[in-house]
Amino acid sequence: MSEESAVPREPGPLRLRNSEFAPGKTLIMAIVNRTPDSFYRPGVTWDHQKALDRAHEIVAEGADILDVGGVPAKPGGDVDVAEEIRRTVPFIAAVRAAYPELVISADTWRHEVGRAACEAGADLLNDTWGGWDPRLAEVAAEFDVGLVCSHAGGLPPRTRPFRVAYPDVMADVLDRVLGLARRAVRAGVDPARIVIDPAHDFGKNTWQSLEITRRLGEMTATGWPVLMSASRKDFVGETLGTAVEDRLAGTLGVTAVGAWLGARVFRAHDVPQTRQVLDMVAAIRGDQVPARLVRGLA
């Protein structure tokens, strides 16, 4: 880890839109993909109205952040800037109109898309591809929105890991995400709006994703809010030998470990189940008061 990138910040509130979320408060970032070909339930929210219906549903389920993506992570047919904007930005505008205070995240690595998304009302730029486009941070600064600083192992967007090896994967994660966070702060992004993400599966084999899960405490110890994006991913499927439809329990196991180790934002397909896990872990950690207790107390 380089010395420059190793500087932690004080654990403090995470600022998103008009809200501040204290450490100990966990947030669910619910996924709405404006794609015909994402890996889980492909095309389910490809239709604009179906995507809006899904937005209403996840808001009702208690999602804190809505994450809108227009390009699948996997390799595939080209989705250019204009097409990505066409897929995501009108939808962001519609969600913004329906929910003036909801935190909306735009899942994109491109600054042009990020700019259009912010103009439509996005509050957070979820840069899953690890700062591939350095101008994205400038957009975050310009609009005073949040930025997710992720580790993709230096891979270009929409590529799969090919025989990736790290002397120490967590050291590489910390080096890159803290470096990105510092770069973002230098670009003028509000430090309270920066989130770091180890990015499970991105530039990682399953052993490496298990390792960053096991050692997530090293990320949370930096003080930067940590996003965990593990929902139904391949490392869960490979670990359990399950297809994508049957990865919820595994995902929730990862969620519980991440929450226990102090992650604060959880990107999820399954909102109510994730909320229950987070509430349970928060109660175990002592971060949240349980709902109603009488057992042994009557």
């Binding site: 042994g296 107390l297 009557a298």
Partner: protein
Amino acid sequence: MITTAAVCPAPPLLARELTGRAVVLPELREACAAAVARLLASEPAAVLVVGAGAATATWDADDRLDLSAWAPGLRTRGNSRLPLALGLGAMLLDEAGFTGRRILQAVGEAEPAAACLRLGAAAGQLDVTAILVMGDGSARRSPAAPGHFDERAAPFDLAAEYALRDGDMAAVAAFDAALARDLMATGRAAWQVLAGALGERRPAGEILYADAPLGVGYLVAVLDT
């Protein structure tokens, strides 16, 4: 001489912090607060708090319950050895804003009736007019109760309710300690201390709450001579 008494149950859930985000049994909490308010209406200089403990003993008046014994995560401070009933009695007095002198008297939960009556009679000689009695009915009132269901439980609790309502201290004095133990009625000894303190007098009683919503008989009453 004791002239006024309040009787309240002593479940841990009376401590608001222990029940989580929900306010559990608000009617019971309100009845307890009302009973203590009635007790304090005469502005007593001192209150004698009586409740069951492992052994008969007087506790430091400044002692407070350590809730962490029930909820370690709360990391509260207090005397972890203070009997629950006394701690909750002190808590009710605190919540009512009582700042006067208090005496915390534990009565051994296994003390036979005669010993309880003697303890009460001795307390009646103190320069105290108000007594707060913390004790519960049977914990075997329903299949979901902590002690499961015992068909003798409801009649036992009803007898206690009627005796307090009627100011019938002789009936209280006659409660069977062995039956009370079988029924997990932890308030028996404290109630008999009250009977000892009031002696031959027949106070006017009023029941503010009598129910077993969680399978434990809760009885809230006020008595005035």
